[in-house]
């Protein structure tokens, strides 16, 4: 029973993720593409819940849907696209075919690698409490954690520099 529920929900979430991604790529209007991206991100969040990682799932929603998608929306508003306008030009069949083939090659390689060399799938995923995740970040993985903070700090400093640079010429 439980296994069936998990399998059905996996199929649903995978369909949501892939369907959203396809919509994001094929939509003619930028905001509709963004909605597709949001659906895809939600599907990924649901998959995280399925592997008993609710903290990662909630962070995915908090950061991607709550912040990144909204920022992309802000960028779209700056492009002065019209609400009824279709931004994408006419599609060229050969190009679609080539892009599809390129995507399939990467997906196929990844799938083959995962199927052949992937670790054995654990029977039941165990949920790790958030305090353990925090302890791991500040214990064995502290170097990576701090490097990420440095990268973020550099990005923030760069953004500030760029913003002031543009303001100067007046």
């Amino acid at each position: 029973m439980r296994e069936l529920v998990v399998q059905v929900s996996f199929a649903l979430y995978a369909a949501l993720t892939l369907g959203g991604a396809v919509w994001a790529v094929t939509a003619k209007s930028l905001v509709r593409a963004l909605l597709g991206l949001t659906l895809s991100l939600m599907g990924v969040a649901a998959l995280y819940v399925l592997i008993a990682a609710p903290l990662v799932a909630l962070m995915q929603i908090l950061i991607y849907v709550g912040a990144v998608v909204v920022l992309i929306f802000f960028a779209i508003m700056l492009t002065r696209a019209q609400a009824e306008q279709e931004e994408a030009g006419a599609r060229d069949a050969g190009r679609t075919l080539r892009a599809g083939a390129a995507g399939l090659v990467v997906a196929g390689l990844l799938a083959a690698a995962c199927l052949r060399h992937g670790p054995k799938i654990a029977g039941t995923a165990v949920e790790v409490p958030p305090s353990d995740i925090g302890a791991a970040f500040l214990g064995p993985y502290v170097l990576g954690f701090e490097v990420i903070s440095v990268v973020l700090f550099a990005a923030m400093a760069g953004a500030v520099v760029l913003a002031f640079e543009r303001r100067k010429p007046r």
Binding site: L35, L55, I61, L62, V70, F74, A83
Partner: protein, 329 residues
């Protein structure tokens, strides 16, 4: 497979289902109640009685309003993207019942047992901004678009001090579980977190009012300059669902403040859900009073208040809390 494996899944699922259903009822009932309270408060603040004709003291006015909203025609503006236009109110409302499931109304009165309740509420609260964006964009109306642009910059800005102030309390108690956070406080007001973290409570409250787009921070609506901002083109229940979501968000904000800062369902003499509801409704009434007391701020004032005052204060507060926790522990 057999009965035992079904039973292993069923109790949590049953609790979740019943909880969600009850919470949707709770939200709808509260929408009606708060609509009445808001109109009454607005009336008395402006020295008039408010709704008075439908039922005794206008008690049934909310039902009449709901009937009117449901009965109205749903119009999609010409040249608008119908899909985005109608996805927006749905996206504003659908995450709301999910936010409620982690709220501990009482010792055993909650929808879902999770050690991430706080993160759950904060993450689903982000959908509201996206809904306002879609509404503004899908309406094909320049006022709506301006409202959406304001909503984005406001929500992105105020989310940061809100998270930081909540984080200070979570750090102090060492948990993200709302039940545990509420339970770690005592019954009397001086044992509540608000006595230890008054600055965090103040920052949280201001940011929460801004995040729910309530006056004096309702720049996304701003009827004096943007007609009704993102809500301009919505008629009937389209508008009604946005209002329902707004009231429900106010209640969520009040519930989180109660659980984090005001001791949750703890209270003098007889702890229980009634204390939780009393504190929550007190906060919500305060928010309603603020709307009818203060004039709307200007947009630059709104952003300056956040970036120049609330954000540094929240950061200092978090640092001080971390230091105090480290020294005490």
């Amino acid at each position: 497979m057999n009965g035992s494996s079904l039973a292993a899944v069923a109790p949590e699922l049953l609790r979740l289902g019943v909880g969600l259903l009850a919470l949707v009822g709770f939200i709808a009932a509260n929408g009606m109640l708060l609509l009445y309270v808001e109109r009454k408060v607005a009336g008395h603040v402006q020295r008039r009685p408010g709704p008075f004709e439908v039922g005794p003291h206008g008690l049934l006015q909310a039902f009449a309003d709901a009937g009117k909203l449901v009965g109205k025609q749903l119009a999609t503006p010409a040249g608008a993207d119908g899909l985005l236009f109608w996805a927006a109110p749905l996206m504003a409302f659908m995450p709301v019942p999910l936010m409620f499931i982690a709220i501990p109304f009482g010792e055993n009165l909650f929808g879902l047992q999770t050690n991430l309740g706080l993160v759950l509420i904060l993450s689903f609260a982000g959908f509201n901004v996206l809904a306002l964006c879609l509404a503004g964009w899908g309406s094909n109306n320049k006022w709506s678009l301006l409202g959406a642009a304001r909503a984005v910059s406001q929500a992105v800005a105020y989310e940061i001090p809100l998270l930081l102030s909540v984080l200070a309390v979570a750090l102090m108690c060492g948990s993200l579980d709302l039940r545990q956070l509420a339970g770690s406080q005592g019954g009397w007001p001086w044992q509540w977190n608000v006595a230890v973290q008054p600055l965090a409570f103040f920052i949280y409250f201001v940011c929460a009012v801004a995040e729910t787009n309530r006056a004096p921070f309702d720049l996304a609506e701003a009827e004096s300059e943007l007609t009704a901002g993102v809500h301009t083109e919505y008629s009937g229940m389209g508008n009604g669902i946005f209002f329902l979501a707004e009231y429900a968000n106010m209640i969520v904000v009040g519930c989180v403040a109660t659980a984090l800062f005001l001791g949750g369902s703890q209270g003098p003499f007889a702890p229980g859900p009634w204390w939780f509801l009393a504190k929550m409704y007190l906060l919500v009434t305060l928010v309603i009073f603020m709307r009818w007391t203060y004039p709307r701020v200007r947009f630059d004032q709104l952003l300056n208040l956040n970036w120049r005052w609330l954000m540094p204060l929240a950061l200092v507060n978090l640092l001080a809390t971390a230091l105090a926790v480290k020294l005490a522990g």
